[in-house]
Symmetry: C2
C-alpha cells in the first residue's frame, strides 16, 4: 500500500491533473493520495495559495477582495471545464469561500481557513476526476482522516494519538484523496501547518497507515548529485539515506521540508521522489539504510552561500573551562543561531548564516565578546560559501577527503575551513563565495566523472 | 640586555655549571640570570627538587628524614668541591634546611620553603662560581628582585605591580643571579609557583626588566620540527611565533610551561631556546611575528595520543537553538574539560582527553545526554591520536591541507577528523592511535623532505 503525494506543479492545471489520474490508475497500490493546491502553470504565474492569501488579507483589511476572488474562481473554472467535471464543484467552492470570509472568528483562524481552500478544492477536483475515470475515489477531509493538531495557526503540530486514528483509514474502500497542509484541533477548528505543509500531511498519512512506500511526486526526475545550475546534466541519485538527504537539503537542496520527514523517518518508511511529468523515470529512493559500493562513497555535493565566520583567539583559551560555552551563550542571548563552532587550541570559529547577524547585531556581539571574554582577537568575516560533500560511504573510506581537497587545490581554491569527522555522512568545506562555482565543478568531476 | 634562564640539566653538576659560567662570561649582555635547581646527572638520577620534597614529606610525617638530608648535602658537597668554592656555602645550606624544617608554619608553607631550597642554593652556587671567575656577580633573593605573588602555596600567581619593581633591578651593578620557582607574598612569606616554575620566574624577570632577549638554556640544540623519537634527525626549527609554539606544545612538544610565556608574550620579548652543552648552536627563536617563506609554510608537526571522541547525532539538531551549549554544559557540570567540539548538521563530536573521562564518568555523561537531549545516537570512541600541523603560513596558502591529506592517504591512514580553519596557524587531524607513527612519518616527508 502506497501513499502518493502530489505537489503544486502536478495540480497546476487540467493537463497536469490528467497525468495525476493516469499515475493513480496505473498502480492499484496507490490508495492514499495527498494533494497540494494548484501551483504555477508557468514561470510568472501565481500559486493558488498566494491568490488566497492576497484575497484574505484584502478582506481582513477592509479592501476590495472581489478581484482576487474572480482570479481564484477563474482558475478553478478553467480546471473543472477542461476536466469535464460538474459545475456543482464551482458552486461548492464559491460557497465555501464566502462562508469562510463571513464566519465569526479571529483573523489568524480565518486566514488559516482561507489558505486551506487551495488544498481542499484540489482534493475535491482530483477525487471527482478519478471518479470520472471510473476509479472508486473518495475525498476525505483531514478531520475524518484523523489529522488532529495543536492550536497554532500557521504552525500546527500533529498531536500524539493521530497516527492510530489515521491507521483506521485502511477500513475505507477505494482510493482516498486527502488535502494536504491542514488539520483540525481537538476543538474541531481548521489549522494549517507551516508553508509547504502538504509534505507534512503526506508524511503523517504514510506513517499513520504504515505505508510500504511514500511517493512524493514533483516536477523533477530525481534528486541530482549536484546543483544543475552549476554543473550541466549532473548524475541522478537513485538512492539516498535519510541522513544523506538531510545533509544535502541543509546546504541548498530543497526537495523537502525537513520537519516533514520526521514521521516517515520514525517509521522507517521508504520515500520515493518521482516526476509527475515522467512517471516511468525511476526517481530517487530515500531510505533508512542502504548498501554502499566502494567506488561510490559520495552521493551528492551541496553548496550554499551567505555564511560568515566569527573568529575569536585568546592565549591559553583551551585551559579556560567553559570558554566555548560562554561564547555560544552570548550568541544565544542575542538570538543568533549558529551553524558550527570548530575550535583550535587557542582559537574558535563560529559559522553563522549572514542573514542571522546584521551589522548592528555584529557590533553588539563583538563588543560583548570583548568585554566578557577578553580575547586577544575577535573578528567577523563575511562572504563565505559552504560546500557539503555527502555520502554514507565517507566514514572509513581512506582517501575520500583527499579527493575533494585535491580537486579544490587543482581549482586553485583557498580552503578557509575543513570540518570532517563530526558527521559520519558528510565533509564540510568553507571557501570564498566567489570561488564557489569553480570549486563545485572541480569536486563534482573528482567524484563523478570517470577519467 | 638579556635574561638567561638555565634549566635543571644545566645545573646538575660542576661540569654543567662550568659551562653556564662560560656562557655568561662570553656575553656581557647576559646580566640577569635565572636558575633552576640541580637536575638529573644521568637517566636514573633524582632531581634535587624531588630529594627535597621526599625529605619534607618524611619530616612532616614524623619519619626519619636524615637519609634524604644526607643525599642532598652530598650533592651540594660534590658540586661545591668540584667548583673549588668555599665550604661556608655548605654550612649555609644545611643551616637553611634546618631552619626551614624547624620553623613554626603550616605544612603547605613549610613544603614550599623546602622545595625552594634547590633553586635558592643553585643561585648562590652560580653566583659564587661567577665571582671565582672574577665576574661581578650577585645573588639576588626573589624578595629583593620584586617577585611578589599571591598566597597560593605551590601555585603562586604573580601580582600586578611586580614588574615595575623588577624593572629597578637595572639600578644594580654586575650580573644578577636569581633563583627561579618562587616569590614572596605581600606579607613576606615564601611561596612557590607550580612545578616547572623557573620558566615563570625567567619570563617575569624578562618582562620586568624589558629584556631585548629571553634566553632559555636547555639540553637540546633547538626545537625540532617533529618528535625525534618518531622521525630520525628531524629538521631544526630556527624561528617560531608564540602562537606556533603554543600549538606545538599543546600536542606533545614540551619545551615550555605554557603559562610561563604570558609575561614575555605581553611585552613581545623574543625568546631563544639554546643548548648549554652546545652554546654555539643558533637555537630556536620564538617571536611575536615572523616572515613566512612561501615554500616553508609549515613549521612543525606535533602529535599526541590519548584522546577520545564523544559523538552525538539527532535529526534536526541544528534547528534546536542551544543544543551544542547544552551538550557542553553537561560536560562542564560533570567537570570534564573538552578539547574541541566540531559539529555537522545533525551531529556533533566532542574531543576529550581520555584521562579526563573515566569509564564511570562516561556512563554518567552518556546517560545525562540521553535523558536531557534525547539524541538519536550517542557513543564514545577511545584510542584517538591528534596530529597538529602548525605554521604561520597555513592561512591563505593554497594546497597546504592537500599535502598533509595526500600524505595520510598514501600511508593508508583513515582520517577520523579534520579540523582546519578554526585556527590560523594549525590544522588538526584525528586518527587511530595505532596509525600514528606511520602518519607522522608520511606527513613529515611531505613537508620537509625535498623530493
Amino acid at each position: 500500500m502506497k501513499v502518493a503525494k502530489f505537489g503544486g506543479s502536478s495540480l497546476a492545471n487540467a493537463t497536469q491533473i490528467k497525468k495525476v489520474g493516469e499515475i493513480i490508475k496505473s498502480d492499484p497500490e496507490r490508495k492514499f493520495i495527498v494533494v497540494s493546491a494548484p501551483g504555477k502553470r508557468h514561470q510568472t504565474d501565481t500559486k493558488m495559495t498566494d491568490l488566497l492569501i492576497q484575497m484574505g488579507n484584502s478582506y481582513l483589511n477592509g479592501l476590495q477582495y472581489e478581484t482576487n476572488l474572480k482570479l481564484i474562481m477563474d482558475r478553478f473554472t478553467e480546471i473543472i471545464e477542461e476536466l469535464n467535471l460538474s459545475n456543482e464543484l464551482l458552486i461548492e467552492f464559491e460557497t465555501m469561500i464566502k462562508t469562510v470570509l463571513n464566519a465569526e472568528q479571529s483573523n489568524a483562524d480565518k486566514l488559516d481557513a482561507i489558505k486551506a481552500i487551495g488544498e481542499d478544492s484540489s482534493a475535491k477536483i482530483v477525487s471527482a476526476y478519478l471518479q470520472s475515470m471510473e476509479i472508486d475515489a473518495h475525498y476525505i477531509n483531514p478531520l475524518d482522516a484523523g489529522i488532529i493538531v495543536s492550536d497554532e495557526p500557521g504552525n500546527a503540530q500533529i498531536l500524539p494519538g493521530s497516527l492510530a486514528k489515521i491507521y483506521t483509514l485502511h477500513e475505507k474502500d477505494g482510493v482516498l484523496v486527502i488535502p494536504g497542509f491542514f488539520g483540525y484541533t481537538e476543538q474541531g477548528k481548521l489549522t494549517t501547518f507551516s508553508r509547504g505543509g502538504s509534505d507534512i500531511t503526506g508524511s503523517i498519512i504514510a506513517a499513520g497507515v504504515k505505508a510500504e512506500l511514500y511517493e512524493n511526486f514533483t516536477d523533477v526526475n530525481s534528486v541530482y548529485s549536484v546543483n544543475p545550475n552549476i554543473v550541466n546534466d549532473p548524475k541522478e541519485i537513485t538512492i539516498l539515506t535519510y541522513k544523506e538527504m538531510r545533509e544535502l537539503s541543509y546546504a541548498g537542496f530543497s526537495v523537502f521540508h525537513d520537519e516533514a520527514l520526521i514521521p516517515v523517518i520514525k517509521e522507517k518508511i521508504p520515500i520515493c521522489i518521482k516526476n509527475t511529468n515522467n512517471p516511468d523515470a525511476k526517481g530517487t529512493f530515500i531510505v533508512s539504510e542502504r548498501e554502499v559500493k566502494e567506488d561510490e562513497c559520495v552521493s551528492g555535493i551541496a553548496s550554499d552561500t551567505g555564511f560568515c565566520s566569527l573568529y575569536v583567539s585568546k592565549y591559553l583559551m583551551n585551559r579556560e573551562i567553559g570558554f566555548g560555552r560562554k561564547l555560544l551563550g552570548i550568541l544565544e542571548a542575542e538570538g543568533i543561531s549558529f551553524e558550527h563552532a570548530p575550535s583550535g587550541i587557542d582559537d574558535m570559529s563560529v559559522i553563522i548564516r549572514e542573514r542571522n547577524i546584521s551589522p548592528s547585531k555584529e557590533a553588539i556581539v563583538i563588543n560583548r565578546i570583548k568585554e566578557e571574554l577578553h580575547p586577544d582577537m575577535v573578528s567577523l568575516h563575511r562572504g563565505i560559501a559552504i560546500i557539503m560533500v555527502v555520502g554514507e560511504g565517507l566514514v572509513n573510506t581512506i582517501g575520500v577527503a583527499h579527493k575533494a581537497i585535491a580537486a579544490l587545490t587543482e581549482a586553485r581554491v583557498n580552503i578557509e575551513m575543513i570540518n570532517q569527522g563530526s558527521s559520519e555522512v558528510s565533509m564540510m568545506f568553507g571557501i570564498q563565495s566567489t570561488d564557489m562555482d569553480r570549486a563545485i565543478k572541480s569536486i563534482y568531476n573528482a567524484y563523478f566523472v570517470k577519467k
